[in-house]
Amino acid sequence: MSQYIQQLTPTVETWTYLFVTVTFFVYLAIGWSARVRETRGFFIAGQGIPSIANGAATAADWMSAASFISMAGMISFLGYDGAIYLMGWTGGYVLLALLLAPYLRKFGKYTVPDFVGDRYYSSTARVMAALAAIFISLTYVAGQMRGVGIVFSRFLGVDIASGVVVGMLIVGFFAVLGGMKGITWTQVAQYVVLITAFLVPAFALAWRLTGNPVPQLALAFSDILTDLNRLQVELGFNEYTRPFMNKTRLDVLCITLSLMVGTAGLPHVIVRFYTVPSVRAARYSAGWALLFIALLYTTAPALAVFARYNLLTTLNGKTALEVRSHEWVQKWETTGLLSFEDKNDDGRLSLLSDKDANEITIDNDIIVLSTPEVAGLAPWVTALVAAGGLAAALSTAAGLLLVISSSTAHDIYYRLINPKASEERRLWVGRLMILVALGVAGYCGVKPPGFVAQVVAFAFGLAAASFFPLLHLGISACCSP
């Protein structure tokens, strides 16, 4: 009887198919209902998006697969030094909200290169800004498509290429049909999915490990950090809370500053503030977005600690047979993101700081995705996390695709090549460019040319060094250039 009931209980895969299918149909339905036939709707959503909706869409746009999947993992491995990502990315948002967004909205241009071209009165500056926006966005969107492929391959058992193709079709549908309007309303739905998916396992894990369900409070008022520090030292690692163990003080400062000004200059987030009706609405939507982003960003460091503690106590010192008896271990091993090797033939696996002696290799990216299974949470929670990872990747990918589209169709084609282009022609070019960018990003996602992960440094470095000084001085310089 119990065996019969067990057979009827949905597996993780069944739940994942259910959640992913339902959410994808919701995105497609929103994309269809928000389809547009004119450039104003396509590039700036007709400037009719309410503040709170734009705040949620901005938060979804801002929080990419890196924030959802990788950030807690990076903090988990770097400990205190992982704070560079928290301070850099959230600090960047504050810079953007206070110093750039409302002013750019008031300037009243379609795109960031449009602002640069008009403000500095230079077509060369406009083209350079458009090329930088395209390069930054392409780099980023390739990473998002790769994230989609990883989630599909792990949770639905399909190969990465098929997963990327499905992701391309979904995001292509609502981006091509609805442009900014379709993307905005889809991002609102995606924010709901991703924040639920991030918070539910964090709350469950906090309750299980500390008896306090609120992760932020659980981290501050329990002994888990003390226990983790002790465990780290026993295994030869530095204390989790000791600063500047992985990077120098100057490097931490420079990376944090680079991430701050780099993210403040990311064009796909800046253009979100063009979609609201007024400057006042732009400021309100910046406030809403900060609240929505803070929900995830204040939970991430707590989840990082819980996941690290949980993994150390689950895997370290166990035999290979014991470790592989967990279904989630077998599945992650097949992806290559988790691997074991009993180097000293003592029959037990050890997680050690010495890379040559370490017998358990864990990729950053599996920390969040594997947490529900490691903690033994219900299968639907695992499926929810998979749907959340997809929502985070697709929402950011859509925003980036629109930047590539507008930079090409508006800033290069309409402004420079064919200023007399008709409304239909500009829309056609915009939609074509989304498809072209999607193809390139999909190819890089399936067959990363080896440097996709590395060129993320280019994206932040270039955005920090190019857009931020140009935009900030363009708005605040006391004397006209």
Partner: protein
């Protein structure tokens, strides 16, 4: 860009005060601030209407400037299709 290429792809150690490729954007930002200011001083100013526009953007209050629309786009306003 060349710093990131040399550290990420050519195997060089971070030679500028140990700053990693991920952090070099901060140095690039400072350099670009200087370059923008210097180039601005050496080139002619933009037309007065752009200067007035920038001045008004910095002042609180007032309606945002409208997005530039071509004639055909104006005809399509309100036809949102969704």
């Amino acid at each position: 860009m060349s710093y990131i290429v040399s550290v990420k792809f050519l195997g060089y150690q971070p030679w500028l005060l140990g700053i990693s490729a991920e952090g070099i954007g901060a140095v690039g930002m400072v350099l670009n601030f200087v370059i923008v200011v210097v180039v601005s001083r050496l080139t002619p100013p933009p037309p007065p209407e752009i200067q007035r526009l920038v001045g008004s953007v910095r002042l609180p209050g007032g309606a945002p400037h409208s997005i530039e629309l071509d004639e055909e786009l104006v005809e399509h306003l309100g036809d949102d299709g969704g």
